[in-house]
Subunit: 153 residues, 8 copies
């Protein structure tokens, strides 16, 4: 019975990096299952009030939604074998750093993904990681190595 | 024997919010001891190479330093009764969000401190907090209530 | 392989809210498996003495039964991905609040379900929850969002 | 060095049972330190809005307060050697049952205190307890026995 | 998918109580899988020296064997949903009591099985149990109730 | 500041082995504090009914008492640095073996003390121990070595 | 459903001991699945730089690789039922001893495999093991006994 | 009240590196308390048989001693804030690597100390460390920075 590796893909939701990793893993035939937060930005923002009723105050609007998203995160991130956190070009992305800290405290293997321009600002996050890379292809290569011991050609 | 409350003050290091909280707690006579990361920005950046030798590559320069800082954090944050994380006006402050996630995963009571302008971007972090406030005075009031059951006049 | 979500339905046993949630999830095709305490009130009260012998003292009669029920709870609640606790109109329902505290201490995602009339009395329980709602339909909507990222139409 | 026993007194706040236990322990010279939730009902209800700003909606008014109270509970109850939970005559007291469940999940020794009239309704809570009694004097006797091995005259 | 309950049967190895429980569960169609220590007394005593070489000193002879048996116990008992420990008529059976203590510390639901003649001597063990019974039929009844909510006819 | 070592002395209560160990440690000037179950046999048996009311049934008489004793054990044994469990000549002493299993599951360093005549029957308990000895003097020697690195003359 | 036992084979990578154990288990029809570190020495050394870019400094070259290998180890070793660590004739093999310490701290059953010539140097590692043997055939015999209770003919 | 930092000094026992670190910390006035294994080589080897009786077989001679040493290690290393492990020039030093793995699994901050000649062989151990250095002076500098935020002049 082949072991399935659970990989949680946290962070940036405005580029298709998750799809690229998944496609790369499929091409390589890797026994990996991915999970992630809800990546539909609008749904993620409004889920709380859509289900539990409107809030005039933006704080509680967001609060209700963020807590629903936490239900998902706590299960999927918490049971992952590997957590990948990507920091993109835009926004504060504090939720990504929060997830990285959460994973680190649980002792989960952490891969951090970002461009050079964020290197200094992410040094504490990188210091908690077992790998720091920049591209989806490198994530696929890491998974291929970790699972199969196979290096890129 | 009076119980001493250990409070870890994480995050922004460019304003004197830590000193204000400490002064306020002293005025109120609260049995609190504070800890924090090293708040000297230069020392915090360069500690690794200063002790363990220069690195030509900025990534490893930062890496060495960030890991030394982690030795401090893991003990002081990890044994805190309450973790306060402040987000200021400048920089990415991913280390602050990382600490918040770390504290959340350990089940430590979390107080998040930030201005309204960051409300939406911090919604996931706020959702993990037991209190979200904006001023050092409010932190002092919370501690006075939590410890003594005393409300502000 | 589709991930199956384990949802424990604790609390009130005098209305058919569990069946409604299950029906709703089936309609929505959600990959959910439910567990619950024994909901036959009589069996739940008398199981101890029925199997382990009569007790003249009501305290021990109840004690024997409550402990048998604990065998079930500890396994099923303890391994749940999500715990839903419902407070109904009647009785003290201290066992429901006990389960909520138990789930909270284990760090399990908690959904609390009750009408407005109980809002103030349940504030501590609600404060530990990731969602507070009133109807079975909302539980189904939450599960559909948490699992599939899908909002109600 | 005499070991100090930390005893958390949770639950009912409308009679002076805590004072009676404390007085009894002082008379007996027991090395015990007590902690408890904030027992000023008004302060406990309004602490959140008093410090963090008014809320038009009662749910959020209570939510803010209940979370502040949680900061206190999580530290004091969480570090107790023994947790005593008392159920009185009035109100739903779901927070008391919540605390009992929380303590049980942490594996803390639990003493439950209530009159006979609540026996059946509290059977699940009692089943998790190491002692079920009705009077403050009995709590003092239990502590005297547990600490000194001394039985009541 | 039916949940399978893992039940570890510890203790006495000189009567066929394990087989009776298994037969009873099969008759009742219960979704239970059983595990147990090695119940061949001779093999259990001599496994260490048979594989790892003779020892002139009985202490080390037994030590080697007991440690091999621990490999089995730690996995099977440690992952059980329910631990049943039976005390029979003969021998000291300290390993049974040891297993009960081990299960209790792990928070595993414990069923203790013994005749009346051992009641007083086993009071500490019984106090840690969620059920105390005397016959294999009662274990089957408990499992039927815990799993299906079904009481004996 | 000298580190104080907490040593829990479990098991046999009919000889003065605890006093001998304590006297030996005092002579050697070792920084050790001892704790133990209540060693007054009668008090230990009857504490439950003395405080919580008579029981006509011996099982519940013992049950109430054993649970009170558990309050003590869970704190004192649970926080020990070292657990010593002694098996004497008489009685079944299942509570001693239960404590040994409890300590083993918590990962506490375990010293088992018994005569040769119990060697075979205690092999599983001994296999979980870090030392197996027979006399109070040896316990003192072990503590002197563990704490000070000093061997017997 | 047959229980599958996960066995992690750590340590020496220059002889075919893993293959021998696997072959022996297949012959014996044992329900075992094996995992191991990447045993291609070159790949294991260079994986970091091959995927994440060259390093002029050997320390960081090795650091990148060792951390990738840690991703694999933390999952596979961490979820093993049994950890076997073999020490061979050559090299320092500090990683093997590190894995043994890691497994011991997690409470995983540990089998240590080495020749007599290393006995004294490995005494601390052996002291943490549940079995110490020298040949692959003995590992197979242990697994056959632990799983099936069967002793070698 | 000044926080005292507990630092465990594991590994090599043939040079005076521990004394140098202690002297350096005293000079710097650092609030540090050190602990270590028994560093008298002979006592450490023979403690088991000296207290618990001779063994003709060297394996058991060593086994008894190594387990006594484990009593000390488990307490002192397990409660350390920081673990320093030094690898010297001689011997296999597998116990040092074992301690490093043990500390890593417990999540304790790890400082590894060794000369360049061991760099490649220690890469897995170094990868688990928060600092890798070569001299006692560097350990003192790290402690001064971690505790006081002070860099070397």
């Amino acid at each position: 019975m082949t072991r399935i590796w659970n990989v949680y893909l946290s962070g940036e939701i405005h580029t298709d990096w998750r799809a690229e990793i998944q496609k790369g893993c499929e091409s390589a035939g890797l026994p990996v299952e991915f999970s992630a937060p809800v990546t539909d930005h609008g749904a993620s923002d409004d889920c709380g009030v859509a289900i539990m009723g409107e809030e005039p105050n933006k704080f509680w609007h967001d609060h209700k939604g963020a807590k629903l998203n936490t239900i998902r995160t706590r299960s999927l991130l918490g049971e992952a074998d590997i957590v990948v956190v990507r920091f993109g070009d835009k926004y504060k992305q504090w939720n990504a750093a929060f997830d990285a800290g959460y994973a680190a405290a649980l002792g989960l293997p952490l891969i951090v993904m970002h461009g050079d321009e964020h290197q200094h600002a992410l040094k504490e996050v990188d210091a908690a990681a077992l790998a720091v890379i920049d591209t989806p292809a490198q994530v696929v290569q890491i998974l291929d190595y970790v699972i199969n011991g196979k290096l890129p050609a």
